[in-house]
Symmetry: C2
Subunit: 338 residues, 2 copies
């Protein structure tokens, strides 16, 4: 019997289609090991030596204090930006419709000089560098009230929409709060007004107690498969102590966040043979930083199935895997040393 589950935070229902349920084995069937890549590609714009192929550097972490030292993580404007910095987000009419200039920011975080080292294969120190850069750029962009929402995300693999293989993430700042994010905030506010608590804090407490969907339980962060996961092996990572916005992530928790993220990515990489995935950090918008009702979280969704006409027509998802089974599978994936 299929099961319908409601997401406690968004109130959206998800179909857990056990009649079509796939074992992890079926979902990765036919996947071969990823083709080996060189650690340097002379044509890659993100490889060292090709820095002139990207627009001007916005930020970097370097070895030593010298500005000419080798960079470890590098941030540049996106060469084909979805939104651009110059202009004003003023609305105007075009016939019946509202429009505005596509104002905002679109940056690329080059995560490592090595062409073939995806995030799952970096050291904890390297991943800590990456999330440190995420936070630095988040805080810098968030200072400008015109950047109402700052979204950090990563596309891994062709099915996840990436075109460049060199490991990188992206950051987009939008000049307004996207409607679906506003609705998620609204549901969180409703919960807060009713219960006096953050809905994500309530979910966290429940998941830690239930245990069956937990993937990683670290000092400051928890990773779990959500009860109403939208697809196989979706994983959410939340800070244990309430933080509305990603910018609030304190120094002493950076390493723990990086370690949690890295462990989850490694479990996907080694357990599911390097699946394509997207992740995004969902965080409070500019004017709602530090509020008690929202709670930032990182959502990872492997691209193992294809949303189709049903999802397009209803906005509702069909998940062919059981969240509890997925969590158990990920808990049991044994990782190589390192």
């Amino acid at each position: 019997m299929p099961e319908l589950r409601q997401d406690y935070a968004t109130k959206e229902w998800v179909i857990i289609a056990t009649e079509r349920a796939k074992r992890p084995h079926d979902l990765i069937k036919g996947r071969s090991d990823p083709p080996p890549l060189p650690d340097h590609d002379p044509h890659c714009p993100f490889c060292p030596g090709n820095e002139h192929l990207t627009p001007g550097e916005l930020f970097a972490l370097r070895d030593g204090a010298s500005p000419t030292g080798q960079w470890r993580v590098r941030v540049v404007p996106n060469k084909f930006p979805a939104l651009v910095p110059d202009g004003r987000p003023q609305r105007s009419r075009r016939g019946l419709y509202l429009r505005m200039e596509g104002v905002g920011q679109h940056e690329v975080v080059i995560e490592t000089p090595e062409h073939n080292k995806t995030l799952a294969l970096l050291t904890v120190e390297q991943v800590t560098d990456v999330v440190r850069v995420y936070r630095a750029r988040y805080q810098a962009l968030n200072e400008n009230p015109a950047n109402e929402l700052v979204l950090i995300f990563r596309n891994h693999g062709e099915r996840a929409g990436t075109s460049l293989v060199h490991p990188h993430s992206q950051i987009v700042a939008t000049p307004f709060v996207p409607v679906p994010i506003r609705r998620q905030l609204y549901e969180a506010e409703r919960h807060y007004d009713a219960m006096g608590r953050c809905v994500y804090c309530d979910i966290l407490a429940h998941e830690l107690e239930a245990g069956e969907r937990i993937v990683v339980d670290n000092t400051h962060f928890v990773a779990f498969v959500p009860y109403a996961a939208r697809g196989p092996f979706e994983v959410h990572i939340l800070p244990k102590v309430h933080q509305a916005s990603f910018g609030e992530l304190p120094d002493e928790q950076l390493g723990d966040f990086a370690a949690t993220l890295r462990t989850v990515l490694r479990k996907l990489y080694f357990g599911l043979k390097n699946p394509d995935y997207n992740f995004a950090i969902i965080t409070a918008p500019h004017y709602q930083q530090n509020e008690p009702h929202f709670h930032w979280h990182l959502r990872i969704l492997p691209r193992l199935t294809t949303p189709a006409g049903f999802e397009m027509g209803t906005g509702m998802f069909i998940n062919v895997a059981l969240p509890e089974e997925n969590a158990q599978f990920l808990r049991e994936v044994e990782l190589p040393e390192g």
Copy 2:
């Protein structure tokens, strides 16, 4: 400069990313002609002669009056249903969360006995048969108030999530109104309460007057690229005279709807080399049939680009094509006779 456009019906913004804009040529680059398929596959469960491989027939159109005549269109239960008929949509708690049994209907419409004739290659009479069957099943399912929403959709091609090549559509009835559909209804109600008119009727009138996004303008139906299209070559088809629910489609408009749909699918097929696509018929739920504020429509979205982490994180779409250019391209596609 990228442009932000608001969907007048849903109030959601879409990024029209002209900086990354693709010409139709770029979007279909590398596509080869579809591999030829046989008109009959002895292993296909939807081919004539294999009727015993599907669950029991629910409905069919046959040549002549005889129940043993050759079927032209055939409806069967989905063998791997997302929702199943037996059970009650009663909510219960599992810890913090709401759940219910996955109750509903999931049917398959086999559109033609011919294995290799996709909808774009059928005659107008055949497509009229298909939409006649859509309406018959819609009306039958909608009679039961437990089926709160009846969604008809089609997945064409692997990137659109289909696994069987034999031409078919699907119908799912859900025991509740999915949250994103409820929100779309709510926005339509707000517009109606403010303006006293259906928001889709207003859009239709505007599009017919503006002309630049029109693809097909027939007697009873219009096809156009929406102002805030979510992806390249998205097309909406609407009845010109207000109809809240697909079940209201009158006999005398069936042929015109079929002809409009067929023309759009043929323009995609011949103009863009048989792209993968999804379509879905968005219609009023059971308890809102015949209301003045909603207006059913068919949405076609070719799968030419890949929604990625940005879309997952914000729920907002990036379209790399200009709707006006896409409409002009489709208007100019010349179709072969037939």
